[in-house]
């Protein structure tokens, strides 16, 4: 019984820290793709999306993130657009991952204090906050990493006690992880190489390795490219280019290490300062791209400079380290963690990657950094002879760690505050729209004077369709993900913010107008559609309903 007390206490502690860090998630609502999922599930009334017609091979290959998506949809089916369960799942998932990482760290470092520190850093690291806050994929991302970490811990057990069952378990867990989300696929070569290293006797390693290298070289770049392309096709990546992927693989791990340590806002602030001082002429040469220069070039330069410094520290730690094999393993793990990102995010619009993509790399990063930290610390203790200096140094380091945790939590709060405000705005609008017109006619034609820019990510017409998805009066073709050929398919015109018009597909239709003249001109030609009109009035940011007569008076008003 006593054996379980400490883990239980730790789990509770990690949960509390996760809760403190991410408590704002409970105020967070749907912002982006969650609305699409919501619309589709409301129409289908099923956890299986419309584009889920998969063959058994597809299912086995983890296409469409089968487990993750089904679980996520199950929550959505039962809770609608209530984001509370997602917030809870994110926080519990984060706790579970921190807890598994604690065990991994304990196995690697053989010290509970370091393991706890690592788990806490993992929880509070601000860069990947989006993995938890982006509810459209949060469950997939978080539990994919959970199974990857479980796979990792099985691998470590296998390395320690050399029982083959653990390597089998490791592969199995990793497979489940990929069924949640493909972003942990990078662990496959690591698992394979470690298994090879452990299972093949030393004398035969050279022979087998030669055969493998020969095979790899024979297949060569073409094979690699083909693999990448199949990965591309399999997981629906866009804009794939092998050269870009290779360049990305060189750039991302080196630059990104500074993003883990320095908050994005601070990097941009430094970058702005750097650009203003270093390239002052760019301000007047090209004001239109100054923003891009700040957020991409300047951020990259600062990240690179900081990155160089960090990598020099890492190199020095490597020299001091007495466990070089483990060091190389963690270094390799960190680098290969970027393979899925290099494939998925071919182009960056700023100097930073999509925040949620960092999540699978977090574990490798914290382990690597603490490994460096431990090596340097041990070296420092061998140099410093006096006891009081040792105590002072240790105290300072503990204080530094605490400061980092607190700062990280503050950064996460800052980042989430923006998103919460956005989602709050969306939520308010949605409820105002519902209150204004709880019921809408079949094939509605919405009208909101100057209401084209109400929602941050989608055009108002499409959002209105999503909001009323449950009424079944909105065209299904608009809400389902497999209607690519339909003129109502969501990724077409209606998604755009400046869209207004009337779209028809077979017996279904939807219209949206934000311009009085456009509506009038449309209705003049289609007088028989007047019963489909649903009007709203936007007054000081609040939406009120317009009665049918009021809308008709707008339509019939003489110029």
């Amino acid at each position: 019984m006593r054996r379980f007390i400490l883990p239980f206490v730790l789990f509770i502690c990690f949960f509390i820290i996760s809760f403190i860090t991410y408590k704002q998630l409970f105020s967070h609502g749907f912002v982006f793709e969650e609305w699409q999922n919501y619309g589709e599930i409301q129409v289908l009334n099923s956890v299986i999306p419309a584009n889920f017609q998969l063959s058994p091979v597809d299912i086995l290959l983890g296409r469409r993130r089968i487990i993750g998506t089904l679980l996520s949809n199950y929550i959505m089916l039962h809770f609608g657009n209530n984001a509370f369960p997602y917030a809870l799942v994110s926080i519990v998932g984060q706790t579970i991952n921190a807890f598994i990482l604690y065990y991994i760290s304990k196995r690697i470092f053989r010290k509970k204090t370091i393991a706890i520190s690592i788990a806490m850093l993992f929880i509070t690291i601000p860069i990947s906050y989006e993995a938890l806050a982006y509810f459209a994929t949060s469950l997939q991302t978080i539990f994919s990493v959970s199974f990857y970490l479980l796979s990792f811990s099985c691998l470590l057990i296998f390395v320690d006690i050399k029982k083959e069952i653990y390597i089998f378990l490791s592969f199995l867990l990793l497979y489940i992880s990929i069924l949640f989300k493909e972003s942990t696929v990078f662990f496959v070569p690591i698992l394979f190489l470690t298994a090879f290293y452990m299972v093949v006797p030393p004398k035969k390693r050279v022979l087998y390795l030669s055969i493998i290298i020969f095979l790899i070289v024979s297949v060569g770049i073409i094979g690699a490219v083909k693999y990448s392309q199949s990965y591309h096709a399999l997981y629906g990546l866009h804009q794939f280019s092998p050269i870009t992927t290779i360049v990305n693989m060189g750039i991302y791990p080196v630059i990104t290490i500074s993003h883990f340590i320095i908050p994005e806002r601070f990097i941009i602030k430094l970058g702005t300062y750097y650009v203003n001082n270093h390239y002052p002429f760019l301000g007047w040469i090209s004001p239109d791209i100054y923003h891009f220069i700040y957020s991409s070039f300047a951020a990259d330069i600062i990240s690179l400079f900081v990155g160089i410094f960090i990598w020099i520290v890492v190199s020095y730690s490597f020299i001091f380290s007495k466990r070089k094999k483990m060091f190389i393993f963690l270094l390799l793990l960190y680098f290969v963690s970027f393979i899925p990102i290099a494939l998925a995010q071919q182009q960056r619009s700023t100097g930073f990657l999509e925040r949620r993509y960092y999540y699978p790399v977090d574990a490798a990063f914290v382990l690597l950094i603490f490994f460096c930290f431990e090596s340097c610390y041990k070296k420092l203790l061998t140099i410093v002879k006096k006891r009081y200096i040792k105590i002072t140094v240790t105290t300072l380091l503990v204080c530094l760690l605490l400061f980092i945790y607190l700062k990280n939590i503050a950064v996460v709060h800052g980042e989430l505050a923006d998103q919460v405000a956005t989602s709050e705005r969306i939520r308010t609008l949605v409820s105002q729209i519902h209150i204004a017109h709880p019921v809408i006619p079949k094939n509605p034609i919405f009208y909101i004077e100057q209401g084209q820019d109400l929602f941050p990510n989608y055009g108002t017409g499409y959002m209105l369709g999503l909001i009323y998805a449950g009424s079944h009066n909105v065209p299904e073709a608009l809400l389902l993900s497999d209607n690519v050929n339909s003129p109502l398919y969501y990724a077409k015109e209606i998604w755009k913010k400046d869209f207004e018009g009337y779209l028809v597909d077979k017996n279904e239709a939807i219209g949206f107008f934000y311009n009085k003249k456009s509506l009038k001109s449309f209705m003049d030609k289609n007088k028989n559609l007047k019963d489909q009109l649903v009007g709203y009035r936007l007054s000081e940011g609040t939406i009120h309903g317009l009665s049918h007569d009021q809308v008709m008076s707008v339509v019939e008003q003489k110029e």
Binding site: F281, L282, I289, I293, F305, I308
Partner: protein, 563 residues
């Protein structure tokens, strides 16, 4: 026979080979001509008519503190005074100095590695490196950057002698040589850090910081004297100082940023010709920052910011490679560390300068850095040989041969780039010489108080649409220098740099003499209207026909229009 065999020892062969390679690479320089600042130096020398022409603005204390680059300026004055409009003395001086610099690089690397061949390869890299070739291809830098580097290397070489023999006379001459180098140009100021570094890295005796400062107190005191003097001079110049140093209002912030970024970006740039880097940068931009692909400023951003990022990447890669060598080669660690630090530190004297519209500093600023680059190549080969030696003789031979081939190819490619640049310069020089000779042929004598009106039909030179003649400085000043012998040019105008700026025009009289230059006809007519003392006979009209490169006499036509 004994003397003959001594003469033919391998060192002598190396010296000869280096000389031949330098002559082969830079021989085209003899066919070049004055570019820009050379005209200003020449004008000052002619205007003052004394060997102390460049020093009248400075006090003795300022001159001793290196203001006015006293020694370099003095050599320039001698050349300009005794060989006017001749580039040959400058070029000869530059090539000899460059050769001596290569020999000193050879000597230093040989001293550190105890290997003549590695020393030779380093010297070869130094002699042929493209990125620093601006110090040789720009005549104005010949008498400053090159001897500055010569005495810097000499001071290092002598300090190594001191470390080997512990004889104080070497140390003394090393310091003297260092101070002399500063009197040529302030680029060697970073030796203030290098001296203690040499002690820390190569002196086996125990050392602490206070002892090191005490040991090099002469260097510290002189450098402090120099920096304070320069600061006072810049303060006194006020707004004009912006011509030489960073124009940013927050100078210290800029200097700090430059101190962090210049060494990092310039480290790799020293090895890589700018054309090549810009090409790769354009590709890198298209892959990593594709949102700029259609932007009109795409090229400018590629050559400035993207090249900066790429250079930093390349520095990181180079450091990684050198770090791996450092890790596996125990014997050459000191050398690797020294030359990497040397290369980084060599950029510190330039942190007060803003870069032009490019990621690269001006080419001549890489001259001292090229010694560091050459030493890095030497250290790389030495380390590779050392690593190979540990395993087998065959591996050692393979690694050494491979490295040598790579280095030779690198040198050959750099030589090609340099020769290509010089060929371009020769074309430009021919145009300028041709222009000036035609002017002299058309007007061997000029009237009193001459007023030149020069125009043309060229679409523009050096990217400037309004520039119709192939000169990159005020052509009025150039004409004053060119016609100085006529005795009709006012010396005061030359000394005050009248008409020096590119589009400057006007007319001025001093002490009964006068000179005018116009490139806009309207301005010439206005000048005649506003000054009734001007006569049509003073005017000389020239027209440059860009397609045939002919200068035509349009004097009569202009004089008629002025009536």
């Amino acid at each position: 026979m004994k003397i003959f065999s001594k003469f033919l020892r391998i060192d002598t062969v190396f010296y000869a080979v280096l000389l031949i390679i330098i002559l082969f690479t830079y021989k085209g320089l003899f066919k070049t001509f004055f570019q820009q600042d050379e005209w200003a130096s020449m004008g000052i020398v002619l205007g003052h008519n004394t060997l102390l022409a460049n020093f009248s603005d400075y006090s003795i204390v300022q001159l001793l503190a290196g203001n006015g680059r006293v020694l370099g300026s003095f050599i320039t004055v001698i050349f300009d005074r005794y060989f006017p409009f001749e580039v040959a003395p400058f070029v000869l001086f530059a090539l000899i100095t460059h050769w001596l610099n290569a020999l000193l690089t050879y000597g230093i690397v040989k001293r550190i590695t105890r290997n003549k061949y590695i020393g030779f390869l380093s010297a070869l890299v130094f002699a042929t490196l493209y990125e620093s070739s601006g110090a040789l291809t720009w005549i104005s830098a010949h008498t400053t950057a090159l001897p500055n580097c010569l005495f810097l290397l000499l001071s290092m070489y002598l300090y190594f002698k001191y470390l080997d023999s512990k004889k104080n006379k070497y140390k003394f001459f090393s310091y003297v040589s260092f101070i002399v180098s500063l009197l040529f140009k302030e680029s060697s100021l970073f030796m203030i850090v290098e001296y203690p570094l040499l002690d820390i890295i190569f002196n086996s005796q125990k050392k602490n910081i206070l002892l090191l400062i005490k040991q090099h107190v002469v260097v510290f005191v002189y450098c402090a004297f120099m920096v304070i003097s320069r600061y006072v001079q810049l303060k006194s110049l006020g707004a004009n100082s912006g011509v030489f140093v960073t124009k940013d209002s927050n100078v210290f912030t800029s200097i700090l940023l430059h101190a962090a970024s210049y060494p990092v970006t310039s480290f790799s740039q020293t090895f890589i010709p700018s054309q090549l880097l810009f090409k790769v940068a354009s590709y890198y931009q298209m892959v990593s920052y594709s949102f700029l692909n259609t932007h009109p400023l795409q090229t400018a951003i590629q050559t400035i910011i993207v090249s900066d990022i790429l250079s930093t990447w390349l520095t990181l890669i180079l450091l990684l490679g050198l770090g791996i060598l450092w890790f596996i080669s125990k014997k050459e660690r000191k050398f690797l560390l020294f030359c990497v630090l040397f290369l980084f530190l060599s950029f510190l004297p330039f942190i007060a300068i803003d870069k032009p519209f490019s990621s690269y500093l001006d080419s001549r600023y890489y001259y001292i850095a090229s010694v560091g680059a050459a030493m890095i190549v030497g250290a790389y080969i030495a380390a590779v040989v050392d690593v190979g030696k540990r395993y087998s003789l065959i591996l050692q031979v393979i690694l050494a041969s491979f490295s040598v081939i790579v280095v030779l190819l690198f040198c050959w490619k750099n030589t090609q780039f340099i020769r290509r640049d010089i060929t371009q310069q020769i074309f430009i020089a021919d145009d300028r010489k041709n222009f000036l000779n035609q002017v002299k042929t058309l007007f061997p004598e000029i009237p009193n108080k001459p007023i030149f009106y020069v125009t043309g039909d060229s679409p523009g030179f050096y990217g400037l649409a309004n520039l119709t003649i192939p000169f990159q400085q005020g052509f009025g000043y150039t004409l004053m220098v060119w016609y100085w012998k006529s005795g009709k040019i006012p010396a005061e105008l030359l000394n005050n740099f009248y008409l020096w700026n590119l589009y400057e025009e006007g007319y001025k009289e001093e002490n009964g003499k006068g000179f005018g230059f116009f490139w806009k006809k309207d301005d010439l007519i206005k000048a005649f209207r506003s000054n009734p003392n001007l006569r049509q006979q003073q005017v000389i009209g020239l027209f440059y026909k860009g397609s045939t490169k002919d200068v035509m006499n349009i004097t009569d036509q202009i004089r008629e229009e002025l009536q």
